[in-house]
Amino acid sequence: MSPENGKHLPENYATGLNFEATELTLGLPGKPRVTISDGGAKSGTKRGFLETVDLNLGDKDCGQSQIDVQEAAKSPVSKAQVVGWPPVRGFRKNAMKSCKYVKVAVDGAPYLRKVDLQMYSSYQLLLSSLEDMFSCFIMRNYLNEKKIVDQVNGLEYVPTYEDKDGDWMMVGDVPWQMFVESCKRLRLMKSSEAIGLAPNTPPKCSSTT
């Protein structure tokens, strides 16, 4: 369980809460990554699906039927729901389905991780595992809060999660099983942003040594 040396964060990690930008797809700096948007083309630094494909029929370079692209633009996700796509054996698809995997994002880290909540039986074990994964942080139990502190920059992180209703909550407020069932994804949020997150958020503590 040896902690890694602190990593340099690449210059181009996206600001803001753009999770796609922090996905584990290491593009070279400066190169825009084209991703499938969740519905409609993305704005900002990323080019939408539409823009990367020439719409003209008969064009030698990027020949693509207009209808296909329009379909894709409407809902690019539908390509993945095409029968027979992606080409993964049914057996494998079924085997991978029965897990409770949620993405974990850390503010400022250039990658997302995934955890299987069913692997843990308590908050303690979960946070300990998160500590391993984002191994430049250490976990600190401060009063009744569960905080994670970055050794390098002294910033505090609060583990939060998005529940089934889309609300962002503090990790630890509900019984463990309830949490497992309702958690959609995790985010280690900078303390400064965590104020007012949930009704009973305790006041922010001063930074530790």
Binding site: E4, T25, V34, D54, D61, A72, P87, G90, F91, K114
Partner: protein, 581 residues
């Protein structure tokens, strides 16, 4: 005029027994087929001495003809459904039933010892029939089959007295909660291979332990998820001679007694070369297997989404002799960099997607390039990724000219090169150009007819080609059909190829095993024309939904067409939703 008298040269130098002995050393199916074509006497000797037969399409020949030609048959391999059945493109009741084969073989005097089936429908009835019909039956291998339950396995266990191999790979098996493992009699001590990793239900752990104890020849043991780490430790104590191990559920508290016993028993398992399983995995427990890693040649972690980049790379750094690696894309591009710097003997890599949603794939072209730079022996690749560039493919082709199998799957199937916005024609063109021995290719990404031009020009050894969402016109398909002389299997989905391509060189299909086209531009009329002109082909139209009437409009596009050469005419067992023209 000069008459030259022609003498028939007879290979009468050797008596039959000598020829037969010589043929014994010729084992590949291709070679034996060639031998049988030399002359009548060779044909005769070959057919009596042939013990192993491979039938790539169970509908291309009948069991009766097989039995008639090869009375000495001991081992039969049969494949049923077309490859795209793996991806839900073929309805379950389409066909591929093994029962008639077993029935015919049982009636004959064939002393069947081995049966290997892929994508076939296997009923409990056929398993029971099999188990009772062949006294010397030794080996059953089922890959991607369906239709049976653990009751069928119980029959095999109970009745096959000399069973050496029971190998179940990725089958859909209904678990009847029976005790099939307990059905192996006490007298059964001959097991060499036992693989039940794909079973979903509970296992009688006591019966399993007793079975392993009385199987001193056991070399390959692959457990299912229901076997806990504690039992694994006990099994390994009894079978330190294992060469191939598939763990069950690999979860425990690292401070437990079972885990510490496991650690020490792993140190004694010096023969393990192949490792798989890890269906549930506690990352903290992986260090126990480090002692085995240094000798591993095959590692399959593709069902272990609980292992992440760091844990994976730590593990892989111990595996310097790895030749084949199956992994999930949790490994990431950087993780492949670790593979590249550690596994210099790597020949085969498969990277599977851990999340099937679009835009969620973790791999990019960078991982593949890193891999190609470190592993020049790479010859087989399956790579699911988010994106690919032409530049990367060209680099990979130059670094690894030994590719035999190259399967790239970009999860967004029409994605172009994100750097240049160009289609991936040039990249794949480089693959077929530099990899002169390429036998199997799967393409994705934005692709025009040009890539097929390259394939037709350069892919001289290509035997199997899989195409999806590609091409602009019939020209594309024609390039392939005209250029790839060794093509045996062509499967196409959602591409703009139509009747002109289908009908240009119909004789070609007799030199191929099969052609699959779904959601393309071929019409019913085109298929009918083909079926009329080529009586030795079976042209099947598979209807999407059973309610749909088979239209009589020849202009109607066909949703799914599957055609294959056959020596025995149309099959009689097709369901209502299949129309054989």
């Amino acid at each position: 005029m000069l008459w030259v008298s022609r003498k028939t040269i007879k290979m009468n130098y050797f008596p039959d027994e000598v020829l037969e002995h010589m043929f014994f050393f010729i084992t590949s199916h291709k070679d034996r087929n060639s031998v049988s074509l030399v002359c009548k006497s060779w044909y005769k000797i070959e057919r009596y001495s042939r013990q192993r037969v491979f039938i790539g399409n169970c509908y291309s020949i009948s069991p009766e003809r097989l039995i008639a030609r090869f009375p000495g048959l001991k081992s039969l391999t049969l494949k049923g459904k077309p490859h795209f059945a793996d991806f839900n493109l073929v309805p379950h009741e389409w066909g591929g039933f093994v029962y008639p084969w077993i029935e015919a073989l049982a009636k004959s005097r064939i002393g069947l010892e081995e049966l290997r089936l892929k994508r076939m429908v296997v009923s409990d009835e056929s398993l029971e029939f099999l188990s009772k019909s062949f006294v010397n039956f030794k080996s059953l291998v089922l890959v991607s089959c369906e239709g049976f339950t653990t009751d069928g396995l119980a029959a095999i266990a109970a009745n096959c007295r000399f069973l050496r191999e029971l190998d179940l790979q990725e089958n859909e098996v209904d678990d009847q909660r029976g005790h099939w493992l307990s059905c192996f009699p006490e007298s059964c001590t001959s097991l060499v291979t036992l693989n039940f990793a794909c079973l979903k239900g509970e296992i009688n752990l006591g019966a399993l332990e007793r079975l392993v104890v009385r199987s001193p020849n056991l070399k390959s043991l692959r457990l299912n998820h229901a076997v806990p780490l504690d039992t694994l430790q006990k099994l390994l104590m009894q079978a330190p001679q294992l060469v191939d191990l598939g763990t069950g559920s690999y979860v425990d508290d690292p401070s437990s007694e079972a885990y510490s016993k496991l650690k020490s028993v792993f140190q004694r398992c010096k023969s393990i070369r192949s490792l798989s399983g890890f269906f549930e995995v506690a990352p903290h427990c992986m260090s126990a297997i480090y002692p085995i890693c240094r000798n591993l040649t095959f590692l399959n972690l593709s069902y272990a989404p609980g292992l992440h980049g760091n844990e994976l790379t730590k593990l892989i750094q111990h595996c310097r002799k790895l030749q084949r690696l199956w992994i999930l894309d949790c490994i990431g591009d950087k993780g492949l960099g670790v593979v590249a710097s550690t596994c210099k003997e790597l020949q085969e890599l498969r990277v599977f997607p851990s999340d099937l949603g679009p835009g969620n794939a973790a791999m990019t072209e960078e991982g593949l390039v890193l891999l190609s730079e470190g592993c020049p022996k790479l010859n087989s690749l399956l790579y699911f990724c988010q994106q690919m560039t032409n530049a990367a493919l060209i680099t990979v082709a130059k670094n690894c000219p030994n590719f035999i199998r190259f399967r790239l799957c970009i999860l967004d199937p029409v994605k172009c090169d994100p750097v240049t916005n160009q289609p991936l024609d040039e990249g794949f063109g480089a693959i077929v150009h530099f990899c002169k021995g390429l036998k199997r290719l799967s393409l994705t990404g934005l692709l025009t007819d040009q890539v097929f031009n390259y394939i037709g020009m350069y892919a001289e050894q290509l035997e199997m080609l899989s195409i999806a969402f590609a091409g602009d016109s019939d020209e594309g398909m024609l390039y392939v059909l005209n250029g790839c002389k060794k093509l045996r299997k062509l499967e196409i989905m959602k591409s703009r190829f139509g009747n002109a391509a289908l009908l240009e060189d119909m004789g070609k299909y007799e030199a191929m095993r099969s052609l699959w086209m779904s959601s393309c531009e071929v019409t019913l009329g085109g298929c009918k024309t083909l079926a009329e002109k080529m009586p030795r082909l079976s042209v099947e139209i598979i209807n999407e939904s059973e309610q749909m009437e088979f239209s009589h409009d020849d202009r109607q596009k066909v949703d799914k067409m599957y055609l294959y050469r056959t020596l025995v005419g149309h099959r009689k067992d097709s369901p209502a939703f299949v129309c054989i023209l």
